[in-house]
Symmetry: C2
Subunit: 190 residues, 2 copies
Amino acid sequence: MARAGLTADRVTEAAADLADVVGFDNITLSALARGFGVADASLYSHVKNMRDLRTRVAVRAAGELADRLATATAGRAGKESLAGFANAWRDFARHCPGRYQATQMPVEPEVVAGSSGHQRIMAITYAHLSGYGLPEPDLTDAIRLLRSTYQGFFAIEASSGFGHPRDLQASWEKILDALDNALTHWRVSS
Amino acid sequence: MARAGLTADRVTEAAADLADVVGFDNITLSALARGFGVADASLYSHVKNMRDLRTRVAVRAAGELADRLATATAGRAGKESLAGFANAWRDFARHCPGRYQATQMPVEPEVVAGSSGHQRIMAITYAHLSGYGLPEPDLTDAIRLLRSTYQGFFAIEASSGFGHPRDLQASWEKILDALDNALTHWRVSS
DNA sequence: GCTAAAACCTAGGAGGCATAGGTTTGCGGA
DNA sequence: TCCGCAAACCTATGCCTCCTAGGTTTTAGC
């Protein structure tokens, strides 16, 4: 009978697609195998185990996110760069929820070191704030603020956790204003 | 043989304790049953199913968090209130990670409506910012900013996601300063 | 002591992860 | 062209988890 032509890459891609549908926490080797018309055990030739698969998805998703962030911040500075970065990130979280969740997965330092996606995200994050002229360690503090705010916002948005009737897009824009303001008037450590 | 004396409440408490150890996403009815020296099926007399158990833990944890937030903000205003609120929340997230995760669980509106913990958290959140004098809808926007930032920070902290060597406590204090500043100089909608 | 509800049991099915070890497919080289 | 080998895929199996059905034992109140 015709073979499915499995590959670690194809399995990873299918897992990422599945994650976008059912959530990164709910992907299943069995479901993937069913999708390929293959027995569960067959996947273990391409992926070490569940954890390995999730890590692969995380690395792949990080690469895709890095691409988006790069184009969104290219040639921009200041508030424009901040908004481009944040909106690109939010778009990714909304349109590819499973992949986004994957980018938040805790992974070993060795994996991060070997993942160009993770590396590029960090580099872009630092670079896109250069217009605000913050010195270290304040720059790192500021990045931690932004990262926390974005991640929290996307997580709450994804779980429909904002119950108040206030328009969410309006809140989002107000938050970006507030963050820009916080960066502009940042009080540098003595 | 001696009975374990199970109760929906005792099962919920045990589940919360277990969540603090293994993570809210990793609690297991089997593990709880083992802990009580009881068969898996016995637990179904007290909780409907896994989802019901998680919801119960979420409601209980929300109550505990509300207590802490209440005492942390009592008699304070402005920056003091902000810091008290934020630090109490962070303490909770760090010392009771499973319970904290439970408070973030998406629950049906009916459950929220019937959970005094969830209601009190919302009330305290709005009340503790009264000193900044923000009108609606800006107050809601500001609260969404704080909530996002805290939730994101705690999640990243819990997963050891802050890789940079910069002292985390220092970053946290800097972030609180920035948030206080953002609230103090908030630009109200026209 | 009797009774009814609450607490707990055994049995069993469905589905998920993972390993061991065997079979088929397809491709490069003699 | 055919051989052999590696990759792709298989069956069988074991363990864990959730959950249901239906039965038994304990406990508390009258």
